[in-house]
């Protein structure tokens, strides 16, 4: 039996179902939301900070349950 035959068939999950990149995306959204909440430059960024934070946090909660 060759090594190639022993290899398990690799199933490629789509990007939005992969834990690693989606977790990174959620963390980035939380980070951006955080900066928007505290920045002193534009009121409009402050206004939309909560939505960004909420979306990032909800996304993190969901994608952290995906398998590795």
């Amino acid at each position: 039996m060759t090594d190639r035959a022993l290899e398990r068939p690799r199933t490629r999950r789509p990007f939005f179902l992969r834990r690693g990149p989606m977790e990174m995306l959620a963390v980035a959204m939380i980070g951006i939301g955080f900066l928007m909440l505290f920045q002193p430059f534009a009121m409009v960024l402050y206004t939309y900070s909560f939505v960004t934070l909420l979306a990032g946090t909800a996304m993190f909660t969901v994608v952290s349950k995906f398998p590795e």
Binding site: F34, F50, S64
Partner: protein
Amino acid sequence: MTTSHETFTDKAAQAVVRATPEPLAARVRGLSDRAIAWLFIAPTITLLLAINIFPLFWAIYLSFTNYRANRPNAVVQNVGLGNYSRVLNDPDIWASMQTTAHFVFWTIVLQTVIGFALAYLIDRKFRGHAFWTTLILIPMMLSPAVVGNFWRFLYEPQIGLFAYAVSFLSGIPTSEIRMLGDVRLAPWAIIIVDTWMWTPYVMLICLAGLRSIPDYIYEAAEVDRASNWRQFWSITIPMALPFIMLAVLFRGIENFKMFDMVNLLTGGGPGSTTEVASIALKREAFEAWATGRSSAFAIVLFVAVFGLANIYVKILNRVKQR
């Protein structure tokens, strides 16, 4: 001897069985291990639900209403996202967020730099290092109420030791060193107190990180003739970095919620220069009595802290994997 002991034990067991009401005994005998485990943790779960979970959901509900705690009999109306819209378009609340950011940023920078430097020194294991470690740790063991009160005295322009020391070193008259009354100095007064109190905590975490670095790595670096400076940047900092990040996140989450110290030292003043988010929230809730709006404000803060905690858990998992 053994027989008499067994007899005594048997008699005692029979007495206990007789004293136990039959239905209860039957019920306990019939319970599975899992059921008994649930029985033991039920009080804790009930308390957790009553004290943490229920108020959270109640606050979420109130954040969509015009409820005012000082008018409990008034008709409560649903205002949809109105409270969130007001909180997120209020320049005063935005200013309080900026004050919080200023406070959190500088306390974390100072505590991390000083905390790591102290940990690095303590890790050298010089003579009497245990005594100095204990001495450095004292501030973090004190109650924030005690710390707030005695720093108020220390900051007093006329009788305070802090003003006297600054005056002695700089030549500025003590009457001009009004740490809690000057709009430029008051935010720094709080930053100094928080740094004084919580730097030992950061030091402890950094010390754990430094002690976890194996000696053989430094020995190998010395064999390769790496300088102390090179060892510090290539071994010490990278290997202690997860611990430093942990300390930063712990302090970030804590300082974001800071209330007691600010309330005791300045109460948000002078004006609103030290009005951090938690003080602004208290004013909305218990001075303006806008309970619905303050609940929305609290939920915004909760989501921010929860998001930060998520990042913290992710970093913690990475630390565990190393």
